[in-house]
């Protein structure tokens, strides 16, 4: 049999020739087992033949093994269940038989008119047999049996036969109306049956309607067990309808004219149509095998790929063996594999057979199509440079984890490299682990870059041959030259569309195709963040000058521009050829050079991507060479930024090998980064210093140079900050340079590391910002670590801060005289708040003569933060630093640097107890840092000095008052008053401040002292501003006191009234007390106390006597008290009466009704005395007379119809 096409998916051999056999009956059915070792033939005379297939190096041949006259008529179908040792026959007389494969003995199934059958092996269940019968002309009945194994049948109590054949157990049956004459084919598709009846295809669900309902079928009714998938139109009926099962995928292929439509179990089309239009003959039989569909026509056996729907191979019949036109042909795939051991793919089977065989039979000839292993197919395709077809196989093998696929991928990559298809090659290389392909195998492409490692690893560097389809890799230049020389310009032009087509087909195939390869296609920008290279030449960034000293780099950039055009290239073959014909010879040469550069850049980009990914995989050999090659390729690409980025990550680049190149490129930053990454901090710092100082400048413009200098400075600082990469000695040696260049960067370095202050401080310039900040950092670190404070550090911090302030603001070096009439502006922590001049309406200061204030030490009271109440001015809980700062000690937004430093100094002076106060005081005295001196004096306990500074120097009497409230006892407030009245020699008394203090601290100060301090000869007009406010304040205080006194008196009177009222309710009951009604001594009896004002109805005996039970008013419940032998005061009664609530309107109405009822009803005879007494009692209570005490018995008689509440009664003690 001749093999056409370029791919060998199957080999076919004539297995049996019965033309000269004794029995010349035609073949009507064929079957082959899964292993390809047994062939069964059904003949038109009802004979079943079993042949053994013998595989040998010479070929295959069949040997008759058994023969049996199994049916009376032609055998139409043979189904094999080799795993169960069963053969199923369907004969033309409508009988179906179940035979033992060993003996070919068996039994008939209990049915008639069978026209088709098929078997399935659902996982975990016994084999399932479906038989289509045609009992009448208008319907088809489908019967499904489950072939229960003998053991199970025995267990069920139904012995099938003596031959231990499975028992066919009826599972389901359904009937489909159909008027077609025959059932051409039937196959299991999942749990459904795909049926080809006449010229239409049905999907039958023997186990009930599918879950999706009747969504796909045009026939049947909703909820029915069948649906019509499609009917072959008349125009396409030239080809017989037939189907083939694809059991591995649960699909079926339906032939509709020139199209083979693959449907799934739901009847939905899947994938592209199998294009049968190119057969050149009518398809006569179908069979699927693995990923292929074999279509048998009168001309050949056509092998189609089910994935792409295209024909991949054609096996032509030999001229003498060609079937006659119209002859019936049969194709039988290998029998269904068992659930446990079945294999859907191609490959060798045990016993010398092959899985996936397909038997094709004519009337008297039988061919056996044997699948070629995927590895062999891939090898052949790669040998033919059919990469697209090979890729499909390789990918499938990789998905299955086949070892050959890795070899094939490596082989394909090397072949593609030879073809200068670098992107595709890299995609294959990415699939190869180091055990299959080592990145060092690419070293021959770049001999000048990898010479050092080629010799070193000479033993390992031997090129692997894989399948021996490629020649050793030459250098990249040679490779491209050979490629360009071997391809014509037209081929070069057509290369792009070809690549694009191949790329497009991968996109098309399936969703998994997109993720098949790691990096995205086409562009390298999306594969790696580090090496997302820009091909527009802008990748250099700050460290990549536009111009380059290296011709290679310049060429690389030029190639990059050419590469840009590649992505936008859309060449249409016809148009490209037409353009090519019109090209001039000169332009061809230019194009040749451009093509070379383009290929070179493609190679660099692709291999850089691959090397960067591969170097991170464990098991990569010669990593030093790989990293060096990678960096040099990046340099070739002109990607300075990527070079620096790669240099920054841990790598094994041979610095000596790349340093000349980087230096030539003037990529100093990259070179320094490389040294830094390799632990050579001194070298790196030296380069960065030179760049930052402008000694190593690129030939680029000033902006780029400035950017480079900034980058160098930042990089150097970053390296200096790293305690691992940069030792302390290197830091100290470079610190002066860094201080000179950037004190901020130096401070960042100093605060980022733990250094010895003794070694660092001498290097820091005195009175500099960086010095005190470093000291502040040390102090803060001390506090954070909880170690004892170092007085020297704390003192040094205060001194350096003060010095820095004075340097920053030289005006502060001059002290503000106390006699200054204008208060000095104060540093505040709160925006907008300025203290010192606002004193709450006090009169403005005016100069006056006074003696020096007292300087006696004052006792320190309480803690530093004292809650001060009363008085005017600033009050509350504040620290001294906050007090003199007018708020908090945190610098406000927009505060100047000097203000921030002063706040910082105040905070430090207040927070620290470790500094040398005398030394700090000495540095502050004589300067304008008065607020800081206040804090310092407060810390030292010299409150008089602090007050003097506040009140006299800063003219902030309010702050002085607040300070006094915080730090002084009230008895010492006079000292502040004396201070303003007698400020000292040469200073005028501050009358306004004195008045303010009198007003604020008036509770503790005597205005007489102010008056006495007034000069005797002072005119009244001059004294009025001083005296008048004091007089107003005193008068106000007097009136306020009078008001308070009268209010207290009113409250006293009210309380006395209440006491009288309460005492009037007291009742004293002693043993002499008698009930005023029965005149018996109360003694130990229970008695009742009725308080005045209680409701008359409540105690109305008439109401109690005449009212019904519902309307009877309750007796006073809370006015009872018990008397004991000892006198008892009925205080409880009074209290109880206060708790009694006034009657509600409803109760009042009831009471009124009761009274009216009382008026209408006559009193009971004989009770006139009681009624009079009751009215008298009621009248007494209504008149608010004294409380009435009576015994409980009289109380009941007078009006109590109900028992009082028990708790209202006081039993005798």
């Amino acid at each position: 049999m001749a093999i056409a096409s370029s791919r060998t998916a199957f080999t076919a051999a004539l297995l049996l020739d019965r033309r000269h056999a004794a029995n010349t009956a035609a073949i009507t059915a064929v079957a082959v087992d899964q292993a390809g070792c047994r062939l069964y033939l059904g003949l038109e005379d009802g004979v079943l033949e079993e042949h053994a297939i013998l595989h040998s190096s010479a070929g295959v041949r069949a040997s008759l093994a058994a023969r049996k006259h199994a049916a009376k008529k032609a055998i139409l179908s043979i189904q094999l269940l080799a795993a169960h040792g069963l053969v199923l026959l369907l004969s033309e007389d409508g009988a179906a038989q179940l035979l033992d494969a060993e003996t070919l003995e068996g039994q008939h199934l209990p049915l008639r008119h069978a026209v088709a059958m098929c078997v399935a092996m659902p996982p975990g269940r016994p084999p399932r047999l479906a038989v289509a019968t045609k009992p009448g002309r208008k319907s088809i009945r489908f019967v499904v049996y489950e072939l229960v194994p003998p053991a199970a049948g025995t267990a069920g109590g139904t012995y099938s036969s003596a031959r231990q054949l499975p028992h066919p157990q009826l599972l389901a049956q359904t009937e489909v109306p159909d008027a077609s004459s025959a059932v051409n084919g039937m196959a299991w598709v999942g749990g459904q049956l795909a049926v080809c009846a006449g010229m239409r295809y049905l999907l039958v669900s023997p186990f009930g309607p599918p879950a999706g309902g009747n969504g796909n079928g045009s026939g049947g009714t909703a909820g029915s067990q069948w649906q019509e998938l499609l009917a072959v139109p008349q125009d396409l009926a030239y080809s017989p309808a037939m189907l083939a099962a694809v059991p591995e995928l649960g699909r079926a292929v339906l032939v509709v004219g020139p199209a083979g439509i693959v449907v799934d179990a739901a009847g939905s089309p899947v994938g592209s149509t199998v294009r049968l239009e190119g057969l050149g003959a009518t398809p006569r039989a179908l069979a699927s095998s693995g990923p292929f569909l074999l279509v048998v026509s009168e001309a050949a056996i056509h092998v189609f790929s089910q994935d792409s729907g295209t024909e991949v191979q054609r096996l032509d019949f030999a001229p003498g063996l060609r079937p006659a036109p119209g002859q019936t042909l049969h194709a039988a795939p290998a029998g269904p594999a068992s659930a446990a051991g079945g294999r859907g793919g191609n490959g060798e089977a045990g016993g010398g057979g092959r899985t996936g065989c397909v038997a094709v039979a004519g009337r008297r000839l039988v061919w056996l199509c044997m699948p070629v292993s995927a590895a062999d197919q891939a090898r052949e395709l790669l040998g033919l440079r059919e990469f697209e077809a090979a890729e499909e196989l390789i990918e499938r093998g990789l998905l299955q984890g086949a070892a050959w696929a890795l070899v094939a991928a490596a082989q394909a990559a090397l072949l593609l490299l030879h073809e200068c298809r670098f992107e595709e090659a890299v995609r294959y290389l990415d699939r190869c682990p180091p055990s299959t392909f080592q990145p060092r195998q690419l070293f021959p492409l770049f001999p000048s870059y990898t010479a050092a490692w080629t010799g070193e690893h000479a033993g390992q560097h031997r090129q692997q041959q894989y399948w021996g389809l490629h020649s050793p890799l030459p250098s990249l230049e040679s490779l491209i030259s050979q490629h360009l020389a071997s391809t014509t310009p037209q081929q070069q032009q057509q290369r792009f569309p070809q690549q694009q087509r191949s790329t497009g087909s991968r996109v098309q195939m399936s969703a998994s195709e997109a993720s098949r390869f790691g990096p995205p296609q086409g562009s390298s920008s999306g594969s790696s963040g580090l090496f997302g290279m820009d091909v527009d030449g802008s990748s250099g960034g700050a460290g990549s000058p536009a111009g380059s000293a290296s011709p290679a780099a310049a060429a690389g950039r030029a190639q990059g521009e050419a590469g840009l055009q590649r992505d936008q290239h859309q060449v249409e073959p016809a148009a490209a050829a037409e353009q090519n014909e019109q090209q001039q010879p000169g332009s061809r040469e230019e194009e040749h050079g451009g093509r070379r550069r383009q290929l070179q850049r493609q190679a660099w980009e692709g291999l850089v991507q691959y090397l960067f990914r591969a170097r991170m995989i464990a098991g990569v050999q010669c990593l030093e060479g790989v990293d060096t090659l990678l960096l040099l390729l990046l340099a070739d690409l002109g990607a300075a930024r990527q070079v620096a980025a790669f240099a920054a990550v841990p790598n094994q680049v041979d610095a000596a090998a790349v340093e000349p190149r980087l230096a030539a490129e003037q990529w100093h930053h990259a070179l320094a980064t490389l040294h830094a990454a390799r632990g050579e901090a001194d070298l790196a710092l030296r380069i960065w210093r030179q760049v930052a100082d402008g000694q190593l400048a690129s030939p680029a413009g000033p902006e780029v140079q400035a950017a480079e200098q900034r980058e160098a400075l930042d990089s150097a600082a970053a390296l200096l900050r790293d305690p691992v990469a940069c030792p302390e000695a290197a830091l100290l040696s470079n610190l002066p340079w860094l201080l000179a260049v950037s004190q901020a960067a130096a401070l960042g370095v100093l605060t980022a590391r733990k250094l010895q202050p003794a070694a660092v401080l001498p290097l820091l310039p005195p009175a500099s910002d960086v010095r005190w900040r470093y000291l502040a950092h040390l102090v803060a670190a001390e506090e954070a670590a909880g170690v004892p404070a170092d007085p020297q550090l704390h003192t040094e911090l205060a001194l350096q801060l003060a010095a820095a302030i004075l340097v920053a603001d030289p005006l502060l070096r001059l002290p503000t005289p106390d006699s200054s009439a204008t208060p000095r502006r104060r540093v505040t922590g709160v925006p907008g708040e300025r203290s010192g001049t606002s004193t709450g309406g006090r009169p403005p200061s005016r100069p006056g003569s006074s003696s020096a204030g007292g300087t006696r030490p004052l006792s320190r009271v309480g803690s530093r933060s004292v809650v001060v109440g009363g008085g005017g001015g600033r009050r509350g809980s504040r620290s001294t630093a906050a007090l003199v700062s007018g708020g908090g000690v945190e610098p406000a937004a927009g505060a100047s640097a000097v203000d921030a430093m002063r706040l910082r100094l105040r905070a430090h002076l207040e927070a620290s107890n470790a500094f040398d106060a005398a030394a700090v005081l000495g540095s502050l005295q004589g300067t304008g840092l008065h607020e800081e001196l206040v804090v310092l004096h407060a810390q030292a306990g010299d409150h008089m000095s602090a007050l003097r500074l506040l009140a006299l120097t800063l003219h902030d009497v309010a702050a002085a008052e607040a300070y006094a409230r915080c730090w002084l006892v009230p008895g010492d407030y006079r000292a502040l008053l004396h201070l303003v009245l007698e400020p000292g020699p040469g200073l005028e008394p501050r009358w306004g401040d004195a008045c303010y203090l009198i007003a604020s601290l008036g509770d503790h100060l005597d205005p007489q002292e102010v008056l006495q301090a007034l000069p005797p000869g002072m005119p009244l007009a001059a004294a009025a501003p001083v005296v008048a406010p004091m007089l107003r304040d005193r008068l106000h205080r007097r009136r306020q006191a009078a008001l308070v006194k009268n209010l207290h008196r009113a409250r006293l009177a009210a309380a006395a009234g209440l006491r009288c009222d309460a005492e009037s309710r007291h009742v004293a009951v002693d043993e002499e007390r008698a009930c005023p009604y029965c005149h018996l001594r109360l003694g130990g009896k229970v008695f009742v106390v009725l308080q005045p004002g209680m409701g008359p109805a409540g105690s109305s005996p008439c109401a109690g006597a005449s009212a019904t039970a519902q309307h009877a008013p309750a007796p006073p419940s809370a006015s009872a008290a018990a008397a004991a032998a000892a006198p008892v005061h009925g205080i409880a009664a009074g209290t109880a009466s206060q708790q009694q609530q006034p009657p509600s309107p409803q109760q009042q109405r009831q009471q009124q009704g009761g009274e009216a009822e009382e008026g209408e009803n006559l009193p009971p005879p004989g009770d006139d005395g009681l009624a009079v007494a009751a009215r008298a009692l009621q009248q007494q209570l209504a008149d608010n007379q004294a409380p009435q005490v009576l015994c409980y018995a009289c109380f009941r008689r007078l009006g109590g119809q109900q028992q009082p509440a028990p708790d209202a009664l006081l039993a005798p003690a």
């Binding site: 659902p122 499904v144 489950e146 009826l170 599972l171 389901a172 049956q173 999942g190 749990g191 023997p206 186990f207 009930g208 599918p210 879950a211 999706g212 309902g213 969504g215 796909n216 045009s218 998938l229 499609l230 139109p233 125009d235 396409l236 649960g250 509709v256 004219g257 020139p258 199209a259 083979g260 439509i261 449907v263 799934d264 179990a265 739901a266 009847g267 939905s268 089309p269 899947v270 994938g271 592209s272 149509t273 199998v274 294009r275 049968l276 239009e277 569309p497 694009q500 087509r501 790329t503 497009g504 996109v507 098309q508 195939m509 399936s510 969703a511 997109a514 859309q570 249409e572 016809a574």
Partner: protein, 198 residues
Amino acid sequence: MIDQLVQSKLVLLGEMGSGKTSLVQRFVRGQYYENQESTIGASFFTKAIPEKHVKFEIWDTAGQERYHSLAPMYYRGAAAAIVVYDVTHPASFDRAKKWVLELRQNVQNPNLIIALVGNKVDLAEDGARQVPEADARTYAAETGLLFFEASAKTNVNVAELFDEVADRLPRAAAPQQPAGGIQLSEQPTPVPAKSSCC
């Protein structure tokens, strides 16, 4: 990163030679072939539009009349349909109208998006236009169709067409695909035992 893509079935229908396959080839592969072979049965393509979170499963059907009976298999369950006509062939526009009518009658998805596309608009510049744009636009407006005039050859409105369809998809929930595969819970229907007379 392609994640959470909604798979949507899209089918192209139209007269033979109207350019369905060219439109799909241009959209999926960015290519155009002057002499495109006729489609047999149907071709299947996939194309993801990550920014719109859509993955199209495109069925490019054959336009020949003899394959008409196969079309229901392909447009059944579709979330969107693109009906293509050739602006230089009035008959193809009439055929497109029939396709729209058939879709309206046979597709049960009420949210089916139908786009009417007049292809080969590049030829209209040469005076070959036979279907006025206004007529097609009016028809599309009357029947609630998206309308585009496109050219697969010059890549006019091709991406815009699919983008617009993708934009409409989230508001039109694609119907669930019919359940396929093996029913794991499949239970054989019990066969009633034959009644016997005794």
